[in-house]
């Protein structure tokens, strides 16, 4: 039996095509993936991300307990600030990638991937020191409003002054009369918000946003657009680009690792990897021959398999076949060339600067 978010009925009424995603019955598209992608780049899109998990650390010692599990330093961000971080194994590989919200040193909320919710909660419960986490995923609905028109639309529904809310900052407030954590975060490369609300009021919030945004072109968007939008930004997708075989240093996410902070799980392994040198790295590339790179396709150099594609698509905004994949460090410089094996045939590719999407 597939899991359903509080917005399942709303998606069906809007005519969404539903698919299974990590056990959840989710909308993959409404009008069409490319149209929804373009709506987010030019106006605003509304995404149901209620399937994401929320795990909370609360009470004295909450910050220290969470900080021992993740790569970012919660002691060095402010209350009301969020941080994208790795939750790592002792080997330095990803248990998950998460966003940690610091409400205060005594309240930390960690947003985790839907596919990893149970694993993460078990992991955190086993390894957290002092304060035990609470899985609050079922209490929250989560709606992402993303695109250049997002701030104007949300502002009309809230008294919270969004002009004072910078990227990766959040505040508690009301949107359309629904109590929310208003977070200026997202997974699209556009400005926007992720709104965490009580699950029972998610549909009220969803409908209010649809109505408020209608005149500015806001449309509901599915997982299809979410994937092409994030790929154009080279944002990692857990299970595709990062997993328990890959470290943040290999994934090009060294910036989320604070090796100078107090100990965290995986730190020693990353220090060692850094000292010894990272042997493979995640790069972005364009296919210069015909075709589309896809997850799992081999990467070849001079006919020999040297790596593999972890994500790929035809980028609707960049209008090119783009891919992300792991290659040996000597092939990571911009302009490096290799082949992607597509249905048995080598197709040439070239490493490019990422994000693929250049903002004008």
């Amino acid at each position: 039996m597939a899991l359903r978010t509080p917005l399942n009925d709303a998606h069906r009424r809007l005519g969404a095509r539903m698919v299974d995603f990590a056990g959840w019955d989710m909308p993959v598209q409404y009008a069409g993936g490319i149209a929804e992608h373009e709506t987010v780049r030019t106006a605003a899109g509304l995404f149901d991300v209620s399937h994401m998990g929320e795990i909370e650390f609360r009470g004295p010692g909450a910050l220290e307990a969470a900080n021992g599990l993740i790569t970012q330093d919660l002691a060095r961000i402010a209350d009301g600030q969020a941080a994208y971080a790795g939750l790592l194994t002792p080997e330095g590989t990803f248990v998950d990638d998460v966003v940690a919200y610091r409400f205060s040193p005594e309240r930390i909320l960690i947003c985790v991937n839907a596919s990893n919710r149970e694993k993460d909660f078990a992991w955190m419960s086993q390894h957290a020191k002092g304060v035990k986490p609470v899985d609050r995923s079922d209490e929250y609905g989560q709606i992402a409003v993303q695109g250049p028109k997002a701030a104007g639309i949300v502002q009309r529904l809230t008294k919270t002054d969004l002009s004072k809310l910078a990227t990766y900052r959040f505040q508690e407030g009301e949107v359309a009369g629904v109590p929310c954590i208003i977070s200026r975060t997202g997974y699209t490369g556009e400005d926007g918000f992720e709104l965490y609300c009580p699950a029972g009021q998610a549909e009220k919030l969803w409908n209010a946003l649809l109505e408020a945004g209608q005149s500015e072109g806001l449309k509901p968007c599915g997982l299809g657009a979410r994937d092409t939008l994030r790929t154009e930004m080279k944002y990692a997708l857990y299970g595709n680009d990062i997993d328990e075989q890959r470290t943040p240093l290999e994934a090009g996410l060294g910036w989320i690792v604070k090796l100078d902070k107090a100990d965290f799980i995986g730190k020693a392994a990353l220090e060692k990897q850094k000292a010894e040198g990272v042997k493979r790295r995640l790069v972005g590339f364009e296919l210069t021959g015909a075709g589309i790179p896809r997850h799992g396709y081999p990467i070849l150099k001079d006919g020999k398999r040297v790596g593999e594609v972890t994500s790929g698509t035809m980028g609707p905004s960049v209008k090119k076949a783009i891919g992300i994949g792991y290659v040996p460090t000597e092939l990571t410089a911009e302009g490096s060339t290799f082949d992607v094996e597509i249905r048995g045939k080598p197709v040439p590719a070239r490493v490019v600067k990422t994000p693929f999407l250049k903002k004008s």
Partner: protein
């Protein structure tokens, strides 16, 4: 949803075939393009390639999925729709017209007649055929 033309023949793999003089034009059905979503790439065979009924002869890709194209008949490819290289989305917008995929010379002229007619194809769809 576009209606399925009455003068075409259909397969369970959601391809259509239209006899046009000595050749057979082949494409994918409206149901197929709808199920695929936005088509972003079509890998075509070459003129002169051999088609074998029921076997893959090309690939069609949407933003998310890769699907094989199955030959409705056996024969030889005499023309391919090169315009799909620049505008693969034509498969979505006009699956029975400008979104055609290949033209083939059938190895045996009687093959097309053995495919489903529109009534049989729509009954297949109604049963949830895919």
């Amino acid at each position: 949803m576009a209606s399925n033309p009455k003068d075409l023949k259909y397969t369970k793999e959601h391809e259509w075939a239209r006899t046009q003089g000595n050749v057979v034009v082949i494409g994918v059905t409206d149901h197929a393009q709808e199920a695929l979503g936005d088509v972003v790439y079509v890998e075509l065979p070459k003129v002169g390639d051999t088609l074998t009924a029921g076997k893959p002869f090309g690939v069609i890709e949407s933003t998310k999925a890769v699907s094989e194209l199955y030959a409705p008949i056996s024969g030889k490819v005499v023309k391919v729709n090169d315009a799909l290289a620049d505008s693969p989305q034509t498969v979505n917008s006009d699956p029975y017209g400008a979104g055609w995929i290949v033209e083939a010379e059938p190895s045996d002229a009687g093959q097309v007649a053995s495919l489903m007619d529109v009534a049989a194809y729509e009954a297949f769809l109604a049963q949830g055929g895919n």
